[in-house]
């Protein structure tokens, strides 16, 4: 089962960083060493407010199928359209670079709003 193709209510994106180590000399000068050419540690926080319990269940099922925070996954074309709805820039700006996939940073958080309606928040992290 792919990641649910549902438009989120709120999306927070952190582009991560390249593998850089910084050292400071005694005189204060900074030395930076680049250890790789791929950005990692991207973060995508998604909030789905007031959706039906059946839709919320799709996230829980997907989380279970990816063995929680263990396995990585990519978004289907439909899911990408839904996830980046409202973004008028290029989709690539919010996507991980080649070779970087998503995994769950933590378990989806489900809040019951009223019978049949829930709010769910999902936190993803991009890893090499």
């Amino acid at each position: 089962m792919p990641y649910p193709a549902i438009r989120p209510t709120e999306r927070q994106f952190d582009p991560g960083d390249y593998p850089v180590r910084k050292y400071n000399a005694q005189n204060g000068a900074e030395v930076r060493i680049l250890y790789g050419n791929r950005r990692f540690g991207l973060r995508l926080a998604l909030s789905y407010t007031n959706i039906t319990d059946l839709l919320a269940e799709e996230f829980l099922n997907h989380y279970d199928e990816t063995t929680g925070t263990f396995s990585t996954f990519t978004f289907s074309p439909d899911a990408r359209v839904a996830l980046f709805a409202g973004w008028s820039g290029t989709e690539g700006a919010l996507s991980p670079p080649s070779g970087v996939d998503w995994r769950y940073e933590k378990a989806p958080q489900v809040t019951a709003v009223r019978p049949g309606i829930s709010t769910i928040t999902v936190s993803l992290v991009g890893v090499i």
Binding site: R7, P8, T9, E10, R11, T49, N50, I51, A85, G86, W87, V113, R114, I117
Partner: protein
């Protein structure tokens, strides 16, 4: 046919209330926002309903010094209670029924009925005005009967 206060009746726990000046009720639906990214117009889904109302009853006595109770007294005593040391004051639930008696034979009078808790009792004694009780209430759950 139009209706007015002439056809209006109110019942407190099944007993018709006397000297009712007015009653009103309202049913409000809370909406949950379902607007998502990319939408240009807000969308909603039904949330919970809240039913409230109010009424005004004249406070009276059948004769000077006769004491006894009247409809206003019966109603306000569901909320107005003297404190007792060590006992938590507790409001009583009351069944209110509001009718528009249109003489309907088959369906009976148009009415709504519900179990309510009084939320506010307000009484003001002033020169030139008849002593009365303004009562506000909130329905506990949904209306049990609605014929409107």
């Amino acid at each position: 046919m139009f209706y007015s206060g002439t056809q209006g009746k109110m019942f407190i726990d099944g007993v018709r209330a006397a000297k009712v000046k007015s009653w009103s009720f309202s049913s409000n639906l809370g909406l949950l926002d379902t607007t998502t990214l990319g939408d240009t117009d807000g969308t909603v889904t039904p949330g919970t309903r809240t039913n409230t109302g109010s009424c005004t009853l004249l406070y009276y006595a059948d004769a000077d010094g006769s004491g006894g109770s009247n409809s206003a007294s019966t109603l306000i005593n569901k909320l107005l209670k003297a404190g007792v040391e060590g006992v938590a004051p507790e409001a009583d639930e009351v069944v209110l029924r509001f009718e528009i008696d249109d003489g309907g034979v088959i369906t009976g009078p148009r009415h709504v009925q519900a179990k309510v808790y009084l939320t506010t009792v307000s009484m003001t004694c002033a020169v030139g005005e008849i002593f009365s009780a303004d009562v506000s209430f909130q329905v506990n759950g949904a209306f049990s009967e609605v014929v409107m």
